[in-house]
Structure formats: C-alpha cells, structure tokens
Amino acid sequence: MKQSKDPFEAAQEEQDDSPPESPIAADELETQTPAGQDVLTGGDDDEISAAVNNPSEPSTSAPKLASTAANASAGKHKDDEEEEEEENMEVELGKFPSSSDPAKMAKMQAILSQFTEEQMSRYESFRRSALQKSNMRRLLVSITGSQKISLPMTIVVCGIAKLFVGELVETARIVMTERKESGPIRPCHIREAYRRLKLEGKVPRRSVPRLFR
C-alpha cells in the first residue's frame, strides 16, 4: 500500500496515518523487522508498535463490541483457519502494555479470542480506519483561515470526528432496530440519529443559523 525505504520508515508512516493501529499492522511490522535488522532497531520497533498498539479505550470499545456482537447473526464458532489468525493477533496484543492494567488486557484477550471471522474483520476495520490527517488539515485551514494548524490538533480533530461517526452509526442502528428494519443503513436513519444527537446536545450548535450553503 505504501512505498517505503525500510520497514521502520514504513512503520513510522503507518503510525502517522492511523494512530489506532490494528493487530494486523503490528503483525506486518513484527514479521518485517526481525529478519535482518539490528537488535537496536528491532527493539525500538517493538517499542513503537507497543506504544501505538494500545488497545482502544475500553469504555468506548465495550459498547462497540456489544453492537458488533449483536450484529453478528451467526452464533460464535471457530474454524481452524481463523484460530491460527486469531492466535497471531492475540500474541501481538499480548506484548503491548494496556492503557491501565493487565486485568483489562486479559479481558480484551478473552473477548477477542471468541470473535467470529466477521466480528474480527469488523473489529479490524474499527481499529484501523481513520480519517486522513492531510484532508483534515486542509479542512481546518480553510475553516480557520490560519495556516498554523499543529499536528496534535489535526490528530485530536481526527479522533473526535471518528468517535462522532461512531455515535452516528450506532444511533442509526438503534433507530433501525426500533423500526424493525434490516440491511445497510439508509440516509433516513442517519438523519434521525443526527436529530437525536442534537437533542442530546452532543452536536455543537451554531448561535447564528446557517444561511447560505
């Protein structure tokens, strides 16, 4: 996907693009680096992938996991092929310090080990997906009119936007279950979800209404 001179730079670029890395990305890093690298760079690589692969915030991941579990219609079952892939992922996750304590890490391990293939792919999309920082920076520059948008600001706004998308999609799913509909989410669900979020006050409202679009 990315042109890179050496695996470490590839790791850096990947880190820059999507802070919430998935176990699969870490897997690629791990397999690339040991092969003929210094102990020094290999060690630093581990540290970096360790720093980056912090498991996502448990308080937000728990409700999301619940929703993905609800979405998986098939019962939980494990194929032999998936087991191998999941074991790899567990190993990667095991190396990384959890944000707080090993108890949470153990809980994550226990949950992840029981994922079906569909759940695992959904979880991977959840961890890996991110809004592009370059696009976000361009948008922020055009909004504020100032060129001085720092990198932390871009990262923070990307994170906020991603969580907002999550709230939208989850609320839209709730709306769908209330209306007893199924299938892909339609714009009417999103609009209803947006309306509910506005009522809850999670969307910043403009004091002056928007006139010209």
Binding site: F8, R122, R138, S142, I143, S150, V157
Partner: protein, 128 residues
C-alpha cells in the same frame, strides 16, 4: 446567492469572518473511502450505501466546522487557536475526552521513541 447543495460536484466555501486565502473548493468524497471502512467498523453493512456515506461526510464536515468555529472563538481570547480549545469543547463528552488524551499521550511517546532512535543511530554511526 444561495447554492443548492443537491449533489453538486464542488462547492466553494465562503469564509465567515475572513475570506480564506486558500479558496478551498469542497469536493465531494474527500473522506469517502475512509468513511466506508469506518462505518463498517462501527456496525454498518460491509458495503454502505453511497448516499449514506455522502450524508455522513456532510454531517462530519459540518460538525468539524462548527467545532472549529467555536474553538476559534474560545482561542481568540487567548490569542491563537490551540489544542486546549478543542479539549475544552468536548470536556462534557467523556469517551471523546479520554480518547483525545490517549491519542496525545501516544503521540508524545512516539516522538520520544523516534528521538531515541535517531540518537542511537548517531551513536552507532560515530562508533563505526
């Protein structure tokens, strides 16, 4: 001079307090690809409907715009815009606040790690 936003391919974004020099024409589909993966991760179908993705993109851009305007208002008191303004705006929303502090601390860790790596490389180069 109202611009009907029904599926036009590009929109010129008018500045509010000051005209933006970059004249950023907001094209459709700036975040589309990423949004598709994101929506799947959050519970949508593996192939979300394109109109849904467009709508979510519009909503997200509007959200970021409003957020940035409010942050700018707050930052104007201090003089310039900073990360703290955004953090202040989401202070009520605990998941977002925690996630942002986590992202910022991770970024610090990465910076430190990269600095350590460069220092070690120099040492290695000077040794040889």
């Amino acid at each position: 001079m109202s611009n009907p936003s029904a599926g036009t391919s590009s929109k010129s974004k008018a500045g509010t307090s000051q005209p933006s020099e970059t004249s950023f024409k907001r094209k459709r589909g700036v975040f589309q690809k990423d949004l598709q993966h994101m929506m799947y991760g959050f519970g949508d179908d593996s192939n979300p409907l394109p109109e849904t993705v467009s709508l979510v993109e519009d909503i997200v851009v509007e959200y970021v715009t409003d957020l940035a305007h409010k942050a700018q208002d707050i930052g104007a008191k201090r003089g310039k815009l900073s990360v703290e303004d955004f953090l202040y705006l989401i202070r009520k929303d605990l998941p977002k606040l925690n996630r942002c502090t986590e992202l910022l601390s991770m970024q610090e860790e990465l910076k430190q790690a990269r600095k350590a790596f460069e220092v070690d490389e120099e040492k290695l180069a000077t040794l040889e």
